[in-house]
Subunit: 406 residues, 2 copies
């Protein structure tokens, strides 16, 4: 086979854990990350959890020499936290915000406020169009009782669909980010099989770093040890995935991760480990055979599994919509009852004043507060039901399409 | 030039005004629309404002013979109201919800609750891949003082970007829907120039229907006459737009609109007029020259105009974010003051009881209610600022890209 000269692309991906006022030694670590990136001179840098625009500006100033082009994706209340630095000019960008992303009333899990999204950045390197996707999915706060699993499966489906629909003119597709999923989880299997993306860790010709490619490890001083109790080696939730779409091949020559503390210092760059890949891109005469047809039965199986998770979420969301609706109706009845009582009192129907005014007014405000809260919940869970239903239907359509294919 | 046989595509588009409990004679009109569609046998039917799933199911049952394939897009609290019926199998779908869509507290303008979106449906007709987009944008409630203009411009930009990024492998692109913009408005000029879409009304070889192609006309008994006072002929806000992407040509052979009442009856199908187009699609040897480069200076100009509107919106959103934040802080101070007073009373610092308990508790609840409301507003306007900033940056990047091109 005739081959053109090879393009070597060096990619860096890290969840930087840079939450203002909450993340430990944030500015110091951002400084260290910037220094490291300048030293190593990557072609593409994909960062998550850069919540503060000041941190982004600092990095932009520092990386001006090696990665002069960059984009910061804005969404949600706090921001998406996603940014991309590139050695090559950025031609275009697009942001897709996931339709489901946790619950606004779960204040201790701030995911809803970040407007979790997938960002697309298009660059052209030596006549090769590269679509670079960066994302950060909803966190998994409890593996045993993961209330957010249906939302994460919806996010994985939307991510896969977004990539499929926007990458049709790309030569190479690259996805980096904190997917908050273990390698065998249904969401990542769905994403990989539905898009044909390959995992840099499993494909790498040479690997160096944490055992099993873990990116959340117990020896990192910032990780919450209790969360990793069942996983003594740690877990792998940060990924670099890639594929060639048209007449190109992509191979992962090398994959590295950081391994806790920065060499010579007492702190790591983040509570996650960075993932660094060297990808070799080459044009070839025949078109690439990376199609999803290859593993049709497996694809139908994973789609069916994902659809089951969405259906489980749909049942729960319907139940919550019903409960909150009932609570709102009860609060409204209580308010009506009190209004009737007060009117009765004013009209002189009641002989005396059975309740003191203070209790009546407190109760009324209590009922009003519950009414407002329950109505808000009802609205929110109505949206959740709509989006889960929509996803379930799309998955069903995809399965039907696959099964009808000759 | 050598030409392949022609494909004639008959497209129907209508905003059906089918709001449960609110729209007049809804079920009767849905029945009439279904009958008309069955009679005429269109290839593609794009409907908006089908809010009730029952109405969708009724139409689906009725159109089973002529348009056996369909998709209903779900989003928001109420739903997107968008659905597509097709004579040809639907291969894939995708929904993109606009990041800005009015305000949840503007209950009288229900747009926020609909989760206004653009839906994509892909069909393949005789080896031709057709990307069909359907949308319904934020309404314009006052032309003189249009508070939603920045949101609509953001929607137009997101719609254009979504089409550009997802239509790269399509042969023909078709967009239908209620854009809530007059033909000369900045949003539609942005959409058309940034995507290269052509307006079926201006391109049609033969036109039949309301003067100037208006789709909201005074003679329709359901339109609000006061809204059309400055436009005696009516306004044109419903569109069918199209373009050929690859080696195809598309021509609009015929365009028709309905003209008020259904022939032989006393009511129209909706408060909008339907738009019906016959499009002729033909393969040709040379690739089509529909590129956006042709009118570069005009494109930069319209981008700059749109960016100005977004900046105006950004200023207003920042002001609202500041005001709501200040209101929340004041409410919190009032609560603190009362808490100090109550503690003082309990500690016996105050000689007597200067205020009755009822007034104190009422005031506390009042302050709490304001605090919650203002905090909600602050969150919402923070999201608005983020999205307007993001759009402004994207537009700036696009302009820079255009100006840097040789």
């Amino acid at each position: 086979m005739e081959k053109d000269p090879m393009l070597r692309l060096r990619v860096f991906d890290l969840n930087c854990w840079a939450i203002c006022y909450l993340s430990k030694r944030r500015q110091e670590r951002i400084g260290l990350i910037g220094d490291q990136l300048c030293r190593e001179g990557f072609d593409l840098v994909l960062l998550q959890e850069i919540w503060s625009e000041c941190d982004y500006s600092d990095l932009k100033a520092k990386l001006g020499g090696c990665c002069p082009f960059s984009h910061y994706f804005r969404s949600g209340v706090i921001g998406s936290g996603l940014c991309v630095f590139s050695k090559f000019p950025i031609l275009d960008t697009l942001l897709y915000q996931y339709s489901l992303n946790g619950y606004p009333y779960m204040l201790q899990h701030g995911d809803w406020f970040c407007g979790k999204s997938v960002g697309l950045v298009i660059v052209r390197i030596a006549e090769i169009t590269v679509n670079i996707y960066i994302t950060h999915m909803h966190a998994e706060y409890s593996r045993e009782k993961d209330a957010y699993l249906p939302h994460r499966v919806v996010q994985a489906w939307e991510l896969a669909q977004f990539i499929r629909h926007t990458a049709k003119a790309a030569d190479v597709v690259l996805l980096g980010g904190d997917l908050n999923m273990h390698p065998g989880d249904v969401g990542i299997r769905l994403l990989r099989s539905w898009t044909g993306l390959r995992d840099a860790f499993t494909e790498a010709q040479h690997f160096e770093g944490c055992e099993d490619g873990c990116t959340l490890i117990p020896s990192n001083c910032f990780t919450v040890k209790s969360e990793l109790q069942s996983f003594p080696l740690g877990i792998r939730i940060d990924y670099i995935l890639y594929k060639a779409v048209s007449s190109f091949t992509v191979e992962c020559e090398e994959l590295r991760t950081t391994t806790g503390t920065v060499p010579g210092l007492d702190i790591p760059y983040s509570d996650h480990e960075a993932v660094m890949a060297v990808l070799c891109i080459q044009r070839r005469q025949q078109t690439d055979n990376v199609t999803i047809d290859a593993a049709m039965p497996a694809l139908v199986e994973v789609l069916s599994e994902a659809r089951t998770e969405v259906c489980v979420g749909l049942l729960a969301a319907r139940q919550q919509r019903y409960s909150s609706g009932r609570m709102a109706v009860l609060a409204m009845l209580l308010l009506l009852l009190q209004a009737v009582g007060v009117l009765g009192m004013l009209g002189g129907v009641a002989a005396g004043q059975p309740f003191p005014a203070l209790s009546v007014s407190l109760l009324a405000f209590f009922a009003l507060a519950i009414l407002l809260f329950a109505a808000g919940l009802h609205l929110f869970h109505s949206i959740e039901v709509k989006m889960l239903q929509g996803t379930e239907e799309q998955m069903e359509m995809a399965m039907r399409g696959l099964q009808e294919q000759p």
